[in-house]
């Protein structure tokens, strides 16, 4: 359990949970294998069952059941946080999220709220194979009543780091059900601090109310006007940031990168503003290509900017299973070079 400033995304998320549980006894963690010394499969929950034994429930392998129970808990005043061990298993909780958690407020005519947070790690590149490597959040984007959030590894000017703060706020400072999408590759990433960010201009756009999750904007400091806007979230945003850096320093192609931490409901004000400057938009996501996040971002940007959007492409995972063998898996998922090549095709 982290006591000092978080070094990694994992530390930051752990700290966010810790602070939320400390601040409010109504925060209850439910999930499989959460108890110390194990502390959850990816260790985000490590130390919490020791520090808050009354607030951590390790559960049977019953994703639907515990998510459904979280709905009932939230309706009766608790602040449940469910850990789904692998994002692939969100298929098991779909009815609970779509027909229950996300419905309660609307179908009971606004008389109730169901503030439950479902945390889960998506993503591949670990060699876990077809049912433990997917990026499935696109199926939950656009579900009325559901917020979908994805953290990014900046400190964000807050003591627990932006990922932990995003999680803390989802648990305690808002009343909607939230699917909180992490990425396995993100966990060990270092939190980007000011010194690391010295070569970038970092801007933070924050909406209000249910759109208050920040959208980060990156560009190379003192660079000429950008020719293209990259939009990506989570781990893909980290790859896009590296692509942006290499394009600038190796090829003098300048981009802006927009990193929303709220995927749904869609809030793309900062993306529109960037594309209004660059005219070109490339979205990058780890989910499969069809009907994905990028499709909606492109559609909305086209609606907002009309002829102001001159070129638009999407980069996504190949349509198919995520293979186990490292070379096959790598060929299936978008990589830094794919982003660089796609940008070069576009500008």
């Amino acid at each position: 359990m982290t006591e000092t400033a978080p070094r990694t995304v994992l530390d930051s998320l752990n700290l966010g949970l810790q602070r939320a549980m400390q601040a409010d006894k109504r925060v209850i963690l439910l999930g499989e294998d959460l108890l110390d010394p194990y502390g959850g499969a990816f260790k985000v929950s490590r130390g919490l069952s020791t520090a808050f034994p009354q607030q951590v429930l390790t559960t049977p392998i019953s994703e639907a059941g515990i998510t459904g129970m979280a709905g009932g808990m939230a309706l009766r005043g608790l602040r449940p946080v469910v850990e789904i061990m692998f994002g692939d298993f969100t298929t098991l909780i779909a009815d609970q999220v779509i027909n229950h958690l996300a419905k309660f407020h609307g179908m009971y005519n606004g008389a109730v709220s169901a503030p439950a947070v479902i945390r889960t790690p998506m993503g591949g590149r670990r060699g876990y194979g077809p049912t433990h490597s997917q990026t499935l959040e696109k199926h939950f984007l656009g579900v009325p009543g559901l917020r979908v959030l994805a953290p990014f590894n900046v400190m964000g000017g807050v003591p627990m780091g932006a990922p932990g703060q995003l999680l803390y706020d989802a648990i305690l400072n808002q009343d909607k059900p939230v699917l909180f999408v992490e990425n396995k590759q993100q966990y060990p990433f270092k939190m980007m601090e000011e010194a690391y960010l010295a070569e970038y201009d970092l801007s933070t756009y924050t909406g209000s109310g249910e759109f208050s999750a920040p959208c980060y904007g990156f560009r190379i400091k003192s660079a000429p006007a950008a020719d293209l806007t990259l939009a990506a979230y989570g781990y893909m945003a980290s790859l896009a940031l590296e692509a942006l850096r290499r394009l600038a320093f190796d090829q003098e192609i300048f981009c802006e990168l927009l990193v929303p931490t709220q995927l749904a409901p869609f809030e793309l004000t900062a993306v529109f503003a960037s594309v209004a400057r660059t005219g070109r938009l490339l979205t990058v996501e780890e989910g499969t290509f069809s009907m994905g996040w990028g499709a909606e971002v492109l559609a909305r940007t086209a609606e907002a900017l009309g002829a102001g959007l001159t070129s638009a492409r999407r980069l996504a995972a190949r349509e198919g299973v995520v293979p186990t063998a490292p070379d096959l898996e790598a060929a299936c998922l978008p990589a830094i070079d794919d982003i660089i090549n796609r940008v070069r095709e576009m500008v």
Binding site: G72, L75, R76, A111
Partner: protein
């Protein structure tokens, strides 16, 4: 000592409400569809008579009887079914999705059991003696999430009474084609003490439910009550595939309103029915006259 007149009034109110509902559907005043609890009124009345304080009720698609026995306002329910802003949920929820005070219903089989289990967990933590009563049916047993929840309900000793109203038919499918093995053993396999009753008599439901709810309160753990009952109406409005002969036999043997009504004198019963008829009509009229549509 049970108050026969009071129990009859409650049973008859549900019956009258739903009879008016079915009759008036023909006029087009109610949009969509509905599921009535005709024949199952004794379960609602007999179980919910034992609620105290902030006790929570979770019900399903067949929830009007539970709502009314809980003390819900018939006018607000009529208005809800008419899609009026003055309805229980402003017309958004409709027949299956009601919430008033600590009463909640929803229309997806199985999910309500999880919802109820989560509520029981919340009430257990609050430690104020509040319990949850969850109604499900034999049809609900086909859903996998039920078994996930029975496991956790028992594992964590949640204060909940699971009431399984076995009306032996799921929409049109008889239980013989949908439920293998023993229903009782399903609960008992998870270590949930279970009682069974084959009756449509509120005077039999009442004491058994009372005993089980007392046990839930006293021990803080779960109990299950399986009530073999009869659905005397269609699944929704007119989609019954059972034969008239079959239904006639059920009406003859398993009508909870008739069973309890026989315990009153003819005049007492008529007087009470007149009162309820008037009240239900007044509720219907008021709901009809309430401002509609425009919000």
């Amino acid at each position: 000592m049970a108050d026969n007149a009071l129990l009859y009034r409650q049973l008859y109110q549900i019956r009258r409400f739903e009879t008016v509902l079915i009759d008036q559907f023909k006029t087009g005043i109610f949009p969509g569809t509905t599921h009535t609890s005709l024949g199952q009124e004794a379960n609602a009345v007999g179980v919910l008579a034992h609620l105290q304080g902030d006790d929570v009720v979770v019900s399903n698609h067949r929830c009007h009887g539970h709502y009314l026995a809980y003390g819900g306002d018939p006018q607000a329910l009529f208005a809800e079914l008419m899609g009026k802003p003055s309805g229980v949920c402003g017309g958004v929820g409709g027949s299956q999705h009601l919430h008033w005070r600590n009463f909640y219903s929803s229309g997806v089989q199985g999910g309500t059991v999880a919802m109820a289990a989560g509520m029981a967990l919340a009430e257990k933590r609050a430690a104020n003696g509040t319990i949850v009563v969850d109604f499900m049916g034999d049809g609900t047993l086909g859903e996998g999430i039920v078994y996930e929840c029975l496991n956790m309900i028992s594992l964590w000793r949640l204060p909940i009474l699971l009431v399984l109203e076995n009306n032996h038919i799921a929409q049109t499918t008889p239980a013989s084609l949908a439920v293998a093995g023993s229903i009782r053993q399903r609960f008992e396999a998870f270590g949930i003490p279970t009682a069974e009753l084959d009756s449509s008599d509120v005077l039999e439901v009442l004491p058994l439910a009372g005993e089980l709810i007392w046990q839930v309160r006293a021990e803080g753990g779960p109990r299950a009550l399986i009530i073999s009952t009869a659905r005397l109406g269609a699944h929704s409005k007119g989609d019954d595939t059972r034969t008239p002969g079959e239904l006639a036999l059920l009406w003859q043997a398993r009508d909870p309103v008739a069973i309890q009504g026989a315990r009153l004198t003819e005049s007492a019963r008529m007087e009470l029915e007149d009162e309820v008829n008037t009240a239900v009509q007044r509720a219907f009229d008021a709901a009809s006259e309430a401002v509609g549509g425009q919000r």
